[in-house]
C-alpha cells in the first residue's frame, strides 16, 4: 500500500460522539493517524492535500456490523472488491462481513482468505464474523478459538438464527475466553416457515405467507435470557418489531448488557409497498407495518437500539427477477444507509447528527471491539466527510455494488458522503482534494 497522504480537512464541523466534540475546526491526518485538531500553521507538514469541508460534517468513518460480501462462492451476487467499493462510497471505513459465503467461513483459512483479498482491494477495513457452528448447521460449535486466532472478531450463523438454545448458551460461555461477541439474527424458525412478508393485513389480502412479529420477539426474549445467564457478549440484530424494542428497553433498564441493531429499510417503507409484488421489497427483516416502523425509529432515537447496520444482502439480478416466493431476500444498502438515517431521523428532528454518528460509528466500534469509531489524537485516520444538506435521488444504476436491488429506488434523500478516508488515504470522493504547494 502506498504511503498515506497528509490531509488537512478545513472549515468542516467536526463531530466526534466519543468525546462530545461538535465544532468547526481543522483536522490534520498524518501518517495514517489523526494527528492534530486545529494545528497551527507551523505544525503542518511541508506537503499535504487540502480538503475544503465548508458546510460539511467531519466524522469518524462509519462501521458496519453486518455486511454480506458473498465471496468466496457467490461472486454472482457480490465480490469482496465490489462490496468494498460500495462500502466506502457509503461512508464506511470498517465493515464486519458475515460468513454467508459458499463454503461458509468456518475455518481459519476462510478468515484469512477474506482478509487477504480485502486488504488488496482499496476498500474499507474488512473484518470477519465467522460461523458460530460448523458449516452453519446450527449444531456443533465451530473452532471458535482457532477462528479468533486467525482474526475473526465475532461469530454468527447469519443469515440463519442460532436456533439451538444449547448451542447459543455454550458459545456465549466459550467466547468469554476470547472476549468476542456473538451476533444472532433473532428469528424463531418454527414460526416463519416459508414466510415471505410481514404477517399483517397486507400479506393477508395479497395471500403472501407471513413472517409474524412474534417470531422475532420470542427469539429476542430467549437471547436476552441467555445473556443474563452467561454474562456473555451478544448482539441481536437486525431487529424490526415493536415487541423487540419494548423488551430491550425494559431489560436495558435492568442493566442487562445486550446490544441491538436495525437495518435502514425498517426505518422507512411499510409493507404496503408489497402491493406491487416487486421483489426489491423482499428484504429481511421484512418491511413491517407503520406502527412497527414508528417504534423502531423512536428506539434508534432514544438509544434502545444501539446501532444501525446496513444489512447489505446483495443478490444477483437474475435471482431477484424470479417470482415473489422464489426470489431471495436481500437488497443493496451500503451506499444508502447514511442517507436513509439522515433523512428519516436527523432531518425529521428525531435525533442529532452526533447521535446519528454514534449509532453508525462509535457504538458499532464498541460492539465489535474495534479501536476506530472516534477522532481522538493518535487513532486511525478513518474519517467520513458528509454534506448534510445535499438532496439526491437514489438510483441503483449508479451503485458500486454489483447488486442493484434496493427498496429505496427513486427515493429522495438528504445527506451525502463526500469523502471516505481510510487510514489517511482517500478511498472515495465526489470532489477532488486540492494540493497544497509549499
Amino acid at each position: 500500500m502506498s504511503e498515506p497522504q497528509s490531509l488537512l480537512i478545513e472549515h468542516g464541523r467536526i463531530i466526534d460522539p466519543s468525546n462530545g466534540t461538535d465544532r468547526v475546526a481543522r483536522l490534520l491526518l498524518y501518517r495514517g493517524k489523526v494527528h492534530a485538531m486545529d494545528p497551527c500553521d507551523g505544525d503542518l507538514p511541508s506537503y499535504y492535500l487540502r480538503i475544503d469541508a465548508t458546510d460539511c460534517l467531519v466524522c469518524p468513518g462509519l462501521i458496519d456490523l453486518g455486511t454480506e460480501l458473498r465471496e468466496p462462492g457467490r461472486e454472482e451476487d457480490e465480490t469482496i472488491e465490489s462490496g468494498g467499493l460500495a462500502a466506502v462510497a457509503g461512508g464506511y471505513t470498517s465493515i464486519l462481513c458475515s460468513a454467508n459465503t459458499d463454503p461458509p467461513i468456518d475455518t481459519p483459512a476462510g478468515v484469512e482468505l477474506v482478509r487477504r483479498i480485502a486488504a488488496s482491494c482499496g476498500g474499507p477495513r474488512t473484518h470477519v464474523i465467522a460461523c458460530c457452528s460448523s458449516g452453519r448447521n446450527g449444531e456443533q460449535m465451530a473452532e471458535l478459538g482457532l477462528l479468533a486466532q486467525a482474526g475473526a472478531i465475532g461469530f454468527s450463523d447469519s443469515p440463519r438464527p442460532i436456533h439451538n438454545s444449547a448451542l447459543l448458551k455454550r458459545a456465549l460461555d466459550y467466547c468469554r475466553m476470547f472476549n468476542l461477541p456473538i451476533f444472532d439474527r433473532p428469528v424463531d424458525p418454527d414460526l416463519v416457515e416459508q414466510g415471505v412478508a410481514h404477517d399483517g393485513q397486507v400479506a393477508l389480502v395479497l395471500g403472501l405467507k407471513g413472517l409474524p412479529t412474534e417470531a422475532e420477539d420470542l427469539a429476542v426474549a430467549r437471547d436476552v435470557r441467555l445473556v443474563e445467564a452467561t454474562e456473555g457478549r451478544l448482539h441481536v440484530g437486525p431487529i424490526s418489531t415493536m415487541g423487540s424494542v419494548d423488551l430491550l428497553r425494559r431489560v436495558k433498564q435492568r442493566g442487562i448488557k445486550v446490544t441491538a441493531s436495525v437495518c435502514p429499510h425498517n426505518l422507512w417503507h411499510s409493507d404496503e409497498m408489497l402491493r406491487s409484488f416487486d421483489s426489491r421489497f423482499k428484504v429481511h427483516p421484512p418491511l413491517r407495518s407503520s406502527r412497527h416502523i414508528d417504534a423502531v425509529l423512536a428506539a434508534v432515537a432514544d438509544g434502545t437500539i444501539d446501532a444501525v447496520q446496513s444489512g447489505h444482502m446483495p443478490r444477483a439480478r437474475e435471482k431477484k427477477m424470479d417470482d415473489f416466493d422464489q426470489a431471495p431476500f436481500g437488497a443493496s444498502t451500503l451506499e444508502t444507509t447514511l442517507a436513509v438515517v439522515a433523512t428519516r431521523l436527523v432531518h425529521c428532528g428525531m435525533m442529532s447528527w452526533s447521535d446519528a454518528i454514534m449509532r453508525l460509528s462509535t457504538t458499532p466500534a464498541r460492539i465489535a471491539g474495534l479501536q476506530e469509531g472516534n477522532l481522538a489524537l493518535g487513532s486511525p485516520a478513518d474519517v467520513v466527510v458528509i454534506d448534510p444538506n445535499e438532496t439526491w435521488t437514489i438510483r441503483s444504476a449508479g451503485f458500486f455494488s454489483q447488486c442493484t436491488s434496493t427498496p429505496h429506488e427513486g427515493d429522495v434523500v438528504k445527506g451525502r458522503v463526500i469523502y471516505t478516508i481510510v487510514g489517511g488515504e482517500i478511498r472515495f470522493t465526489t470532489r477532488p482534494a486540492l494540493e497544497h504547494i509549499p
Binding site: E193, Q194, G200, Q201, L204, V205, L206, G207, L208, S276, F277, D278, E318, M321, D322, D323, F324, D325, Q326
Partner: protein, 314 residues
C-alpha cells in the same frame, strides 16, 4: 355487439382493483355472450384470428379447459404450455418463459402460478393481455366473477344479499376474489371456518368473521363452500378431517336451518363428505354445475373486453 366505453383495462389481474361499474360491465358482457352462444354451446367468430396461450405452472383441468373453450367459442385459437413446479429448476425464469410465448404472437396469456403476484409481474413485462387464472392464495378473478354471475342470475341483484364463504379462507384465492367482488356490488360477506383458517384481521377490513356455521345459516342467502386445500397446508390447521366435517360440512340437517331459497355453491373440485355431502351437492339448491357453464361465459367476456381495450377494436 357494441364495445362498452367504460372498459379500458388491458389485463384482468384481480377483483380488488376493479370498480363496481367494471365488474358490472364484465357480468353484463358475460350474459350477452352467453345468450349469443346459446348457453356457451355455439361458436361465433367475434375473436377469429386471435390466439390465447394457457401458461399454467400449477395443475388445473377445469379452469384451463374453461379458458380454452371460451376462446374457441369466440373463434380464437389456443395454445397450451405447462410447467410443473418452479421454472427456475429448468434454468429459466417464468418471465422469460412468458416472453418466449408472447414472441410466438399471442394476444392473451392466461396464467396460473403458486406464487401471489406473478400475473402482476407478467403484466409489467408483456405487451399482450394477461389474465390471472389463480396466483397462490391471492386471487382468482374469473372464479369470483362466475360465482357472482351465478348469484345474479338467480337473485337479480347482489345488493343486500348475505353471502357466506365457508372453509379454508386462508389459502383460498377464490375466497379473496369473491370477497372483493361481492362487497363492491353491495353484498354482505361472511367468512366462516376454523379460527386457524379465518384470520380475525378480515374484520378490520370490513368483513364479518364467523366460526360457528350453524349460527350464521339462518341469515344466509348464498353459501359458497370452499375446498380444504390440503396441498397448501404444511401442518394441518384442525385436528382431523372428521372434526372439520362435523363442524363445517354442509349436510341435510344443516340445510334445514337455512332459508328456503338458499343457493349452494362450490368452486370445485369438491371433497364430497368434507365440505359438502352428496345430498346437498346434488340437491335442488345446488347450482354447482351452472357455475361451470358461467365460467365459460365470464371468460368469454374477459377475453373480448381485454382484446377490445388492447386494440381499440370498437
Amino acid at each position: 355487439m357494441e364495445f362498452p366505453k367504460t372498459w379500458t383495462r388491458k389485463h384482468l389481474l384481480d377483483l380488488e382493483s376493479l370498480s363496481a361499474d367494471e365488474i358490472n360491465v364484465l357480468l353484463d358482457t358475460a350474459e350477452s355472450l352467453k345468450r349469443m352462444t346459446e348457453g356457451c354451446r355455439r361458436k361465433i367468430s367475434l375473436l377469429a384470428g386471435k390466439t390465447l396461450a394457457n401458461l399454467f405452472f400449477e395443475n388445473s383441468t377445469r379452469t384451463r379447459n374453461s379458458f380454452s373453450l371460451a376462446a374457441k367459442r369466440l373463434g380464437a385459437d389456443t395454445v397450451e404450455f405447462s410447467s410443473s413446479g418452479s421454472s427456475v429448476s429448468k434454468g429459466e425464469t417464468f418471465v422469460d418463459t412468458a416472453k418466449t410465448i408472447q414472441a410466438m404472437g399471442v394476444d392473451w396469456v392466461v396464467t396460473r402460478h403458486q406464487t401471489p403476484g406473478t400475473p402482476h409481474l407478467l403484466a409489467r413485462e408483456l405487451h399482450c393481455s394477461v389474465l390471472n387464472a389463480g396466483d397462490g392464495a391471492h386471487e382468482h378473478p374469473t372464479q369470483g366473477l362466475l360465482d357472482i354471475l351465478t348469484i345474479r342470475e338467480h337473485r337479480g341483484v347482489l345488493d343486500g344479499l348475505t353471502v357466506a364463504l365457508v372453509g379454508d379462507i386462508a389459502h383460498s384465492r377464490t375466497a379473496r376474489s369473491n370477497m372483493w367482488g361481492l362487497r363492491k356490488l353491495g353484498a354482505h360477506v361472511i367468512v366462516c371456518g376454523p379460527a386457524t383458517l379465518v384470520s380475525p384481521r378480515w374484520q378490520e377490513l370490513g368483513f364479518e368473521v364467523a366460526h360457528d356455521l350453524d349460527e350464521i345459516l339462518p341469515r344466509c342467502d348464498v353459501l359458497n363452500l370452499l375446498r380444504i386445500q390440503f396441498e397448501r397446508q404444511k401442518a394441518r390447521p384442525f385436528p382431523s378431517v372428521h372434526e372439520y366435517a362435523a363442524r363445517y360440512a354442509m349436510n341435510g340437517k344443516r340445510m334445514r336451518r337455512c332459508p328456503a331459497n338458499i343457493l349452494i355453491m362450490a368452486p370445485g373440485p369438491i371433497n364430497r363428505g368434507v365440505e359438502i355431502t352428496p345430498e346437498v351437492a346434488d340437491g335442488p339448491h345446488s347450482v354447482i354445475l351452472e357455475q361451470v357453464t358461467n365460467g365459460i361465459a365470464v371468460r368469454m367476456a374477459s377475453l373480448w373486453l381485454l382484446a377490445g381495450a388492447n386494440e381499440e377494436l370498437r
